[in-house]
């Protein structure tokens, strides 16, 4: 029996839940359950008070533009300070699409409006009229989590990385951050941002386990090693896409 427990937070599940990103939460929960690691899921809606130092792993998905507009101010004003403190102490945070953009410095819309982000990731996003849609395959740039990641991207914002972040990976097929520089996603400490829906974690079980390992080691020490699982189906789904697009 494992004595491990993880507290997983989901930011604005009712507003930021588009494109099947719920699959990431299911993947984290199930991959813990199959190893007898217990989890608690804390949905964080507008107005919620959160003790971020209690949280081990947070997820922030994308939403409709209207949903994003409804939560942006609440996120900046209520959660940004606590979230930054937790991230500085190694909390794991996975953000996708709209969530990724809100973690950056700002989003410049194509009408010229500058929407501020929280500046947790040193990235900025410029809205465009070009929609970057399709299957995406990247080669991970994470030294401790090498290999390919597959997903589906659907964004018109083009994100550019500053000096304070590393890309999550190099695009092998698809657009990535901006369709220009071949990078996809951004990483700072244990904070990850990217454009990969799909859902991302079920089809990339090594990345899911990497996030869980980071969260467990922060809480329980560097000796934690996850039990391996039978990932035959997951890897078959991943391989199907890699073989199709490469």
């Amino acid at each position: 029996m494992s004595a491990y427990h993880l507290r997983i937070a989901q930011l604005y599940p009712e507003q930021m839940n588009i494109y099947g990103d719920r699959g990431n939460i299911l993947a984290l929960q199930q991959r813990c359950a199959w190893r007898n690691i217990t989890t608690t899921l804390l949905p964080i809606g507008p107005g919620t008070h959160v003790d971020w130092l209690e949280i081990d792993l947070a997820f922030f998905g994308g939403g409709q533009d209207s949903g994003q507009a409804l939560i942006a101010a609440d996120f900046r004003e209520r959660q940004a300070v606590g979230l930054r403190k937790a991230a500085e102490s190694g909390m794991v945070l996975l953000s996708i699409c709209g969530g990724y953009q809100l973690l950056g410095d700002y989003f410049l819309t194509h009408t010229g409006e500058k929407l501020p982000g929280v500046g947790l990731l040193d990235v900025y996003t410029i809205g465009s009229n070009r929609r970057m849609i399709g299957n995406i395959v990247i080669e991970s740039a994470l030294p401790d989590c090498p290999g390919k990641l597959v997903g589906f991207e659907n964004h018109s914002g083009a994100t550019y990385l500053g000096a304070g972040v590393q890309p999550l990976g190099r695009v092998l097929s698809g657009y990535g951050n901006n369709g220009e520089d071949g990078s996809e996603g951004a990483v700072w400490r244990n904070v990850f941002g990217c454009y990969m829906h799909g859902s991302l974690l079920p089809k990339n079980p090594h990345f899911a386990d990497y996030l869980l390992t980071l969260a467990l080691r922060r809480r329980y020490g560097s000796a934690v090693v996850l039990e391996p699982l039978d990932d035959t189906l997951e890897l078959q789904a991943q391989r199907t896409m890699v073989e199709r697009v490469l």
Binding site: E14, N17, G23, Q64, A69, L70, G198, S199, A237
Partner: protein
Amino acid sequence: MSLRTRLAVGAGKTVQWTTRRLGFGGGTNLPGRIARRLAPALLQEQSRRLSDGVVLVSGTNGKTTTSRMLATILDQAGAQVLHNRAGANLITGLTATALDVGLWGQPRYTHALFEVDEAHLPAAIMETQPRVVLLLNLFRDQLDRYGEVDTIAAKWRTALATLPPRTTVVLNADDPAIASLGENLQAQVLYYGLDDRRHGNDALRHAADSIFCYRCGTPYVYDPAFYGHIGIYRCPACGYARPQPDISLRQLALDGVRGSTLRTIFSQRDGQLALEVDLPLPGLYNAMNATAASAAAYALGINLRTIRAALEQFSAAFGRIERFTLAEHPTLMALVKNPIGASETVRMLTSGAPEPLDLLIAINDRIADGTDVSWLWDADWEALREHARSVVVSGTRAADMAVRLKYAGLDPAMLRIVPELAQALDACADQTPATAALTILPTYTAMLELRALLVERGILKPFWES
């Protein structure tokens, strides 16, 4: 009709006849494209020639089934209805269908009934100047193709604002994205909705799209939600609330996969009328489709006895729900194409105390299906955990579906991945116990491929003959 339009009709008909003769299928879009190139006003001119006008039906889920129900009602009423039955619901498909209004003299048809793709509704409204517009619901569907629900609702709002008072807009009161379209229109508005609160189900909210007040952004309070963002809602901040339905489904009794019984109240200025129907189609969403069709028929002045007679003998549109016998297995095939539809189909299959399910789930990611299969994660497959006995997954994204079911808690040992549909049909017929029922859940193009295979095997008829 102008000479130009006559020439275009002739050219379109020739292409239609040729493509069908050469076996290219229903010939549903190309003739329309060619005819529109030759005479851009063709659909407009043909629509104007119909004595009883045009009816448009749109929405994410149920438009094919609902427009078929409405066609059946109009047939029953003795109307001559031109209908894009093969589901050619883009503006080119509507134009191809309108070729059949003919060239000379009095048209053979009294009404045209068009099921319309969500993205093409504004153009269809402009060109056909409809008598009735029926709008069912807006859910996330093929985000890669259509964009977000809000974007479509905004375009619809603009198009509906152009309609004159002689048009009736029939709206689903239970979908806030649809109901709010009824505000500030010149056209008459009729609302329909479900008022049987026993069907509340708050478990499906994670895939909901329009749960924030369209006026002030506050989350709606539901009492109750039926599925997704469909339900009886009000805004606690500004007081905006679901409109009172003019056509109210007051009592709904679901009877598993067999069908359901509906008692609907029609409120009029001088009193109320009641309609009782034994609907031979299963599931809450088909009851809603029947209510929508009844509301539109009522707007067209058809009496309730005719509506009842038509609905009680209705059989569903091709592929949406079909029953046939495959290698001695009584088989039910139901289309799945987006999270809400799939969740509702799973709920229909698993409600009550059904026999163990043997399933074939076929997921394609071609353009007509949506190339993004992320939606599989928004649908609730979890109920299958308690009810599935065997599952064959097939299609271009078979492995994705297998992963989804594994994370829904199904034992991976009961999942077989067979990407080729022909082999998958054989595999599930083989592994299903003799004479036990089989359930097939395909996406749109997988359904077309499966149908083609079943036609080849003599089990089904080609769709444009149905």
